[in-house]
Point group: C2
């Protein structure tokens, strides 16, 4: 691990310890792999961590013990089963007030943690992770750039007669070769399939006049990006262009509101009211966007009823859509960084 990386992990722990202090917690238990990765850079299923105000521990099975000792820094590595090890660490270090995230551990695990005296304290790491640090922004710019590169690559392959599946396979190949794989199970939805936001890629062969929705994303060193384009193939109907322009307008209206201090619900409302005012309100059936980073969906949520406020350093998607079952659908999505100087498009 190079020195600059050591510093990053030390800074993340320091920022988290400030949150612990604010909540008057002695320590916090991490049970979610994405949270663990954020603090350790170590991506392996089956380990856990406790971050205290001064020290921090990893609880590891034998399988991971040596690798973790070699590849992580700033943690005491403890080999063995998690609950007995955790109990010992809590007692020896007199850690009384300890939290865990009730949304990110199973009911079974949370019940065991409560027996050890831990208390559910939601949202702490999410809050931290929602605002990206300099290193994360660098990685997300690269993930965004690679994601768009894949779209440019596939555009050239789009022609009548090619199947959704062939295009999806070519995109998977691209992102595995040029990046570190797929950010999520990519979607290629053509013609009538474009009307279903969660369409599963099929053997449908694309025809002239079909809209083709590509919802794709690359991973770069653990960070994800999310991009959707609705590409026309050949001459399209006026009703397609009408809907397309409304979705494009809604995206633009939402992006214009994407500034520090703005409520996420206002961004959602900018897109939603734009679409509603043009008569398609009931055809916009999902949220306007979501945070993205180590996870493809993370804080903040940009949707109706969202309570979160945008901050500089947040990375979010803006992805309005209109879906007309039996006919077609349009979705346009970018991943953007919130900055004091206005939003920066990362998927470019």
């Amino acid at each position: 691990m190079v020195d600059s990386q050591k510093l990053i992990y030390a800074q993340r722990k320091a920022a988290f310890r400030n949150l612990l202090k604010g909540k008057k917690l002695d320590a916090y238990f991490l049970g979610d792999l994405s949270n663990l990765y954020y603090f350790t850079g170590f991506w392996n299923e089956g380990y856990f961590s406790l971050v205290g105000r001064k020290e921090a521990w990893l609880f590891l099975p034998s399988l991971l013990f040596n690798q973790a000792r070699r590849e992580t820094i700033g943690f005491e590595c403890v080999k063995g089963k998690v609950f007995p090890s955790l109990r010992k660490v809590l007692t020896r270090n007199r850690l009384g007030k300890v939290g865990f995230n009730p949304a990110q551990v199973s009911f079974e695990m949370g019940t065991e943690l409560k027996k050890l005296g831990l208390a559910p304290v939601p949202g702490l790491v999410e809050e931290l992770r929602a605002v990206k640090d300099r290193e994360e922004i660098k990685l997300m710019r690269e993930a965004g750039r690679l994601t768009m590169e894949g779209l440019e690559f596939i555009k050239k392959r789009l022609k009548p007669g090619i199947s959704e599946r062939t295009l999806a396979a070519d995109l998977a190949h691209y992102y595995f070769l040029k990046a570190h794989g797929l950010a999520f199970n990519l979607i290629v939805a053509a013609g009538p399939n474009s009307a279903y936001p969660h369409h599963i890629t099929s053997d449908y062969k694309i025809r002239k006049g079909d809209p083709v929705i590509f919802d794709v994303g690359a991973v770069w060193r653990g960070y994800r990006s999310d991009l959707t384009r609705t590409l026309p193939l050949g001459k399209m109907t006026p009703s397609f262009w009408r809907v397309f322009n409304i979705v494009a307008g809604a995206q633009k209206a939402a992006i214009q509101r994407l500034n520090p201090g703005v409520l996420a619900v206002e961004v959602d409302n900018a897109a939603r009211s734009f679409i509603r005012n043009r008569g398609f309100g009931s055809a916009f059936v999902h949220n306007t966007g979501h945070g993205v980073g180590i996870d493809i969906h993370e804080a903040p949520r940009i949707g109706p009823g969202s309570k979160e406020k945008l901050k500089a350093g947040m990375v979010v998607t803006v992805e309005p859509g209109i879906y007309l079952p039996g006919k077609f659908g349009v979705r346009i999505e970018d991943t953007l960084l919130v900055t004091p100087e206005g939003p920066e498009v990362l998927t470019k």
Copy 2:
């Protein structure tokens, strides 16, 4: 949905209702997508189900409501937020004794379910899903066949100078084109990287004399398969062949024990003692195998301390390995069906 499929879902619910009866439960809450898919065939994040002794319900957000009504059978579809809807259904139908799986819902959700009077009852659906029905076996044979086809395809591309990443991208392309994508994040680990069971695919260029571990799997209509081969490139050292033959022998020994009525721990022990008796006990750092189906890891676990007993219809992996950090590693894995006539290799 064709009639034969209707029958499958009806049969699965009927079998599950027998388990509910045995546990004296009126109903069971499903919070895990794989479990939901098993009973509905509907693969979409964000919905839940309650299966009663006579009726069954799906709790859906607006986004999924129409699609679920069209694509599922044998469920009453309820639109809206899950907890208020669930409360109404419980009251109206006088469902008093209702369970949920504490390992498959978050602590947050489990806490809400307990407030509604539900109780944690572990393992019920896992038990059912561990034994595959005729339809599942058909799909898993196809997933196994396609997985091996991908391996045969990549064997031809394996030559000195090609990178792990290029091979991984070609495999991803194959499984997206010929099957329904990747069963898990595939592993290509060559030369010294083969010594790490959880190696992340890199830009390492393969040399003559390198062992190359391929750990791959295709998805076919929601069902997964799991296959590992350690392929030699060119002339290998005698120490490689010694280790290779021990792992192959351990796999054979374990597969010979793979029969209905045998304890999973005996299968693990067959592989483990074979390796230990030849001096490599500490280099076999993981379980011998695991169940596979809708999830890549499901019941039963074939490892030290496992309490489960093998049954006809179970589909499991057998995957011993020896890892010598700084040198190389060997793992050999197949996915097999347990039958009264002995194990059937599905990855062939």
